[in-house]
Assembly symmetry: C2
Homo-oligomer: 215 residues x 2
Amino acid sequence: MPTEPLSRGRIVAAAIDLIEREGADAVSMRRIAAELGVGVMSLYNHVPNKDALLNGVAEAVLSAIEFTDDPDAHWTDRARTQARAFRQIAHDYPRSTMLVVSRQLHSTAGLLPVERALATLRSAGFDGADAVRMLRMFVAYIVGSLLREVGVTPTFAPVHNRLVTAEGVDAALFPEVSSLAPLLDQCDHEAEFEFGLELLIQAISVHAARREGTR
Amino acid sequence: MPTEPLSRGRIVAAAIDLIEREGADAVSMRRIAAELGVGVMSLYNHVPNKDALLNGVAEAVLSAIEFTDDPDAHWTDRARTQARAFRQIAHDYPRSTMLVVSRQLHSTAGLLPVERALATLRSAGFDGADAVRMLRMFVAYIVGSLLREVGVTPTFAPVHNRLVTAEGVDAALFPEVSSLAPLLDQCDHEAEFEFGLELLIQAISVHAARREGTR
DNA sequence: AGACTTGCACGTACGCCGTACGTGCGTCAA
DNA sequence: TTGACGCACGTACGGCGTACGTGCAAGTCT
């Protein structure tokens, strides 16, 4: 059996697989090579170094997301669709999400979502400067939300291991936290995301309307 | 000269110093020990392992932030003050910021800002569930903003190394990106942060007002 | 005072890591 | 046929986190 020849694509795919199965910490050149049944140094014939490989992973994940966009829809719906497409990353590649958001990709894969978002915001009537501002705000919110969802950033579970409410200490120092503990340690990520998304869209709608009015 | 005895505090301080001087990648137990002029294994008499040490760094940075809070001020001002205090981290400890936001701290240092934020939101009239929602939205926005500011997440500089606008390729594929390039690769972090912050506060103000009205 | 415990600095060693470098084999061009 | 080239691979180096053992100083108990 002529085992399929090694290639950048196969290496990246193996890396993604490994990350999703065992987490980003499990990724090492040796481990990936073993996964593919090849020698470690063979990888370097297709990838210059580990960092470039991880960029490849980020690009591949980003490219796998379907950024459908209907230019005729109302801009609010386009914004919702694009934001949700991005959030899809957290669902489909949860353990790779951190990698995707923390590497700036100057490639086509990285620029395409930016292009789409800017086009949408321009269609909403924002001038260039405002479109960029809005984009940055959305991105900040989305990135922050994804990191919470994949567990990088806290959901705010105030140590649900006993004694937090049992001991009086905590309740005295942190009355709000301890009384809201049940709400804090459960989190419907989709609902939270949608809630903030709607709030943002509504907020910039009125921003747009006021701008329109004073013109 | 009786060199000051080793302690958890001195180790954490040395780690923070090292991170801010040379970046998070430069941090190793060996490096920190060298910085302190002690043997590597001596560190383990005061810190169980590297992970715990990094948690200590996150806690220390968080504790260094002054979360002043005037309970009598209008809740919108309190929210602004608290958000800005958090952003201060990106100014004072830029290279440690990622560490702070990516580790959930169940200690006093970690819970205090949460407690303050919840108290503020409750004072704005939100019930528990809404306060938690609002908190999560703010945190997502703030975390996303800080990561952009410290360069973890992209500002969206579309490769200002030549050819992006010189070659026709890019301009054809990404008309918005290339035409807005000058705006995309400069970013006044403070202005951007304040812009989004005001938008959020305004948005949840109307949210609160509507809730009040329908009661 | 002497014996004993305890705390802490430190050296050595093991198994990981990324990757520089050299070697050998298969294929294709001249 | 011969040469060059692409690519898989082994070896080796320096750095990492940390388990483990050793030795010394200070404190405690009899």
